[in-house]
């Protein structure tokens, strides 16, 4: 192609691909022939090369250290929260898995403590005269033992309601053994006809 000003738009459209070495052989040769004879296009090519070389010398910018510090410390906080959440999930899983054992055990313990406390307290409050009236029997009156029995029955009814509400099974023989053993320490065995006993 002869160097004609009519071809300048064609050449200038291809300056960038020319710089990037992306033109085919034919186009490249045509463009170079034109530029050799066209001052205007030669100037444009030089300008394009200057702009590009300046552009490529623009430096990278370092991010201020405090930004990374801030994010890293926030990430560490989130990590701690995440660990706590995981622990909470584990505890929840543990709680669900062992609820059938732990909760009834706690219920039994509560029953024992309440019933034993009630009996012991009443025993301590007995006047000396009563003891004198029944020297051979227990220091606890029949009426007081009946009240204690009612307390225990009430406690068992709570356990029963708990079973019905949660669907968890409190092993009755386990409950019976635990309660019996504990209460024997405080009151006469014959006075406690347990309703759960078969």
């Amino acid at each position: 192609m002869p160097p004609s000003s009519e071809n300048c738009p064609w050449v200038q459209q291809r300056i960038e691909p020319y710089i990037d070495n992306e033109l085919g052989d034919v186009e490249r040769a045509t463009l170079e022939r034109h530029i050799d004879g066209c001052e205007s296009c030669r100037r444009e090519l030089r300008h394009a090369e200057t702009v590009l070389s300046q552009l490529r010398t623009l430096p990278a910018h370092r991010c201020p250290e405090r930004i990374i510090e801030d994010i890293a410390s926030r990430a560490a906080t989130v990590t701690t929260e995440s660990v706590r959440a995981r622990l909470a999930r584990l505890v929840g899983r543990f709680d669900r898995r062992f609820a059938a054992v732990l909760r009834p055990a706690l219920a039994v313990l509560l029953i024992v403590v309440v019933a034993a406390s009630a009996v012991i307290l009443r025993h301590d409050r007995l006047p000396d005269s009563r003891t004198a009236e029944h020297p051979s029997s227990s220091a606890v009156t029949t009426e007081e033992l009946e009240t204690a029995r009612q307390d225990v029955l009430l406690a068992f009814s709570y356990v029963k309601k708990y079973n019905q509400r949660t669907g968890e099974i409190v092993r009755q023989e386990h409950l019976f053994n635990r309660v019996t053993r504990s209460l024997r320490k405080s009151v006469a065995e014959s006075m406690f006809p347990f309703p759960l006993q078969k």
């Binding site: 300056i15 960038e16 691909p17 990037d20 992306e22 300008h47 394009a48 200057t50 702009v51 590009l52 300046q54 552009l55 490529r56 623009l58 990278a60 910018h61 370092r62 991010c63 201020p64 930004i67 990374i68 801030d70 994010i71 890293a72 410390s73 926030r74 990430a75 560490a76 989130v78 990590t79």
Partner: protein
């Protein structure tokens, strides 16, 4: 402290900050963008495919830059809050005849940055990624979710626009 994340943040922060800086010409906004992208990186780190981390970072950075530009009330008051300080520091550090060269170089840099800021999207992003950050065509294409040939065409158009904007100035 989460050491792997800190290392990752250090590796990626420069390219995030550089891209944001040249796109917004504001250190303050570039810092905000960097912070935003690093937080997203932390949140989604495990979901990013290892081989696609760089392009993920650049895609999220570009979206954050576009959001930041939208949030701007005025685009006028952003003449390089950082560049002015750097110019003064560089000239002060240079002695005698070097001072003039430094000043000229900083002026050219200012002109380039100003012209770059005026280039519309996606041309500017492509120029910054490819010519300033040295990313490959494939990386730019993946980051911008564009076909590779489109990236090439847009890059040449963008550079032509930049050249025209800088005529008589550089």
């Amino acid at each position: 402290m989460n050491r792997p994340f800190r290392k990752l943040a250090e590796e990626q922060s420069e390219r995030i900050f550089t891209f944001a800086y040249y796109s917004l010409r504001s250190r303050e906004e570039a810092e905000d963008v960097t912070q935003e992208v690093l937080v997203k990186l932390w949140q989604q780190m495990e979901a990013i495919e290892p081989g696609k981390l760089s392009t993920w970072v650049m895609r999220v950075t570009r979206n954050a830059v576009i959001d930041a530009a939208r949030r701007r009330k005025t685009k006028s008051a952003v003449f390089a809050d950082g560049v002015e300080i750097e110019v003064v520091e560089a000239i002060t550090a240079a002695n005698g005849p070097n001072a003039e060269e430094v000043l000229q170089s900083m002026e050219i840099r200012g002109e380039l940055e100003e012209a770059l800021e005026q280039i519309e999207e996606p041309y500017r992003s492509i120029i910054v990624m490819r010519e300033i950050q040295g990313m490959t065509y494939a990386e730019v294409a993946a980051s911008l979710e564009m076909p590779l040939n489109t990236v090439k065409v847009y890059l040449h158009r963008g550079r032509k626009k930049l050249r025209e904007a800088l005529r008589g100035r550089v």
